[in-house]
């Protein structure tokens, strides 16, 4: 049965309106839950840099222990009082071309006795295939690494994707970021200024490109936060 062109166009239009309307409705209805789920995930990543997140009430711990704020690459903090640090999208900031335009969140973490225990900073970069990111927790001295949590979008499973394994992340604990930074190293090609074991992290064989990406990411972000940490000290 051949139908007229008018019927076909009318049918397509109605179908589009019905489907589109349905999806818009669903999107509006679910938006709150989606935002909450996303926020919870971010908070989980932040906290997992300093503590085990197994079986804790993430939102409760976060709101009790974490004080977020925003700084810029020159170490300025007061100017950005009104910015919600949690809402700062690290990927968007990463893409801005001018360093002075970028905003850098800091998450201060208090221990159980209410005393400042750690500074947590987000980092973002490119691995071999796609984005890599993470949160680095520093001790009070703003030099020693207390813990890290990395994430990635598409690194090779079993090779580059190992940066998310607890065993690999534990290798960063206790390393110093000042005077040379911290980097994954392989047997050969250790840069001359990275002589002390304090700055070296055992690399991942088969994941050279991913670890290079992580090194570059850490190097640039430690640089961006340097001014603020210097001021704070």
């Amino acid at each position: 049965m051949q139908r007229s062109n008018g019927y076909i166009i009318g049918f397509a239009a109605i179908l589009t309106i019905v489907c589109g309307g349905l999806l818009a409705f669903a999107n509006q209805g679910l938006k709150d839950s989606q935002d909450k789920a996303k926020q919870l995930d971010t908070r989980k990543q932040i906290l997992s840099a300093v503590t085990s997140v197994e079986g804790i009430d993430i939102n409760k711990v976060y709101s009790e222990r974490v004080t977020p704020y925003v700084v810029d690459a020159s170490g300025e903090r007061d100017k950005y009082k009104d910015i919600d640090a949690e809402g700062v999208n690290t990927k968007k900031e990463y893409k801005k071309s001018e360093v002075s335009e970028k905003r850098f969140p800091v998450f201060e973490y208090k221990g159980e006795n209410g005393e400042l225990e750690s500074y947590i900073i987000p980092v973002f970069g490119k691995g071999l295939w796609d984005d890599v990111w993470g949160y680095i927790a520093l001790e009070k001295d703003m030099n020693t690494i207390k813990g890290v949590s990395f994430g990635h979008k598409g690194e090779t499973p079993g090779l580059g994707a190992r940066i998310t394994e607890p065993e690999v992340q534990a290798r960063f604990i206790g390393k110093k970021i000042n005077d040379g930074g911290v980097m994954f190293i392989k047997g050969e090609g250790v840069p001359a200024n990275i002589t002390s074991a304090d700055h070296q992290v055992d690399g991942l064989s088969g994941a050279t490109m991913t670890t290079k990406g992580v090194n570059k990411m850490l190097d640039s972000y430690f640089g961006h936060y340097q001014a603020y940490f210097d001021k704070k000290r």
Binding site: A12, C19, L22, A26, L30, Q34, D41, G158
Partner: protein, 223 residues
């Protein structure tokens, strides 16, 4: 439904066949060899595989239902586009719900939920069945195809997670078996994870074995 009941029982022989055929003799994955891409991509662990199986079944059943209801109004010349629109709507719905209530899973499955749209099984059922059958039969057909797809990818995932990570649904199976034996006998038995199974190659091999066993049993030959 009462009219249907008069003419044909809700689970007549023919209708039971609609569900049971895709499970084995006419399985969408192993016999028709459709939907392979997601069978390789999501089956590293059981949990995301399970979510994927539920998602695909949901999409097939409801797309089949809706398309069957509107089948007589759909202009033949744009029917493929209409099918895509119906499927895409359900896929996006699933994606949105996962983002809201199972964010972790949604992150893991990432693009593969969206890619259900291109899963040949879904469109194949709409074109081959729902377009020319009544809604109730189409739903049964959708359930059959969905379960047929589900049990295959779950079987592959059991093999891949068990031998690739030594666990099932995250539960460390080999540790649970070996630890009591080790502490009793003083031995140090352990299972070394097989990296091959974590790679898509592992899924190919397992899928091949399933197809081999199934075709040996049923005597099915490719014509």
């Amino acid at each position: 439904m009462s009219e249907v009941a008069k003419s044909e029982a809700a689970f007549s022989k023919r209708r039971v066949k609609l569900i049971s055929n895709p499970l084995n003799d006419d399985n969408p994955v192993t016999i028709q060899v459709l939907g392979i891409c997601s069978a390789l991509a999501v089956t590293v662990q059981l949990k995301p595989t399970f979510i994927m199986a539920v998602a695909v079944t949901f999409v097939i059943v409801f797309s089949n239902l809706i398309y069957s209801i509107i089948r007589n109004a759909v202009p033949g010349r744009i029917r493929i586009i209409v099918q895509l629109a119906v499927i895409a709507t359900f896929v996006i719905l699933v994606d949105q719900v996962l983002k809201a209530y199972a964010y972790e899973m949604s992150k893991q499955l990432s693009v593969f939920i969206g890619l259900i749209i291109t899963n040949c099984i879904v469109m194949g059922r709409l074109e081959a069945f729902a377009g020319s059958n009544k809604p109730y039969d189409s739903v049964l057909d959708g359930v059959g195809s969905g379960l047929g797809y589900s049990w295959i990818i779950l079987a592959v995932a059991v093999g891949r997670e068990l031998f690739g990570s030594g666990s099932l649904f995250g539960f460390k199976v080999f540790e649970a078996i070996f630890n009591p034996i080790n502490s009793a006998l003083g031995t140090e038995w352990a299972y070394t994870n097989n990296g091959l199974m974590v790679n898509p190659i592992g899924a190919f091999m397992l899928l091949g074995i399933i197809i081999w066993v199934q075709r040996t049993k049923s005597g099915y030959v490719e014509e």
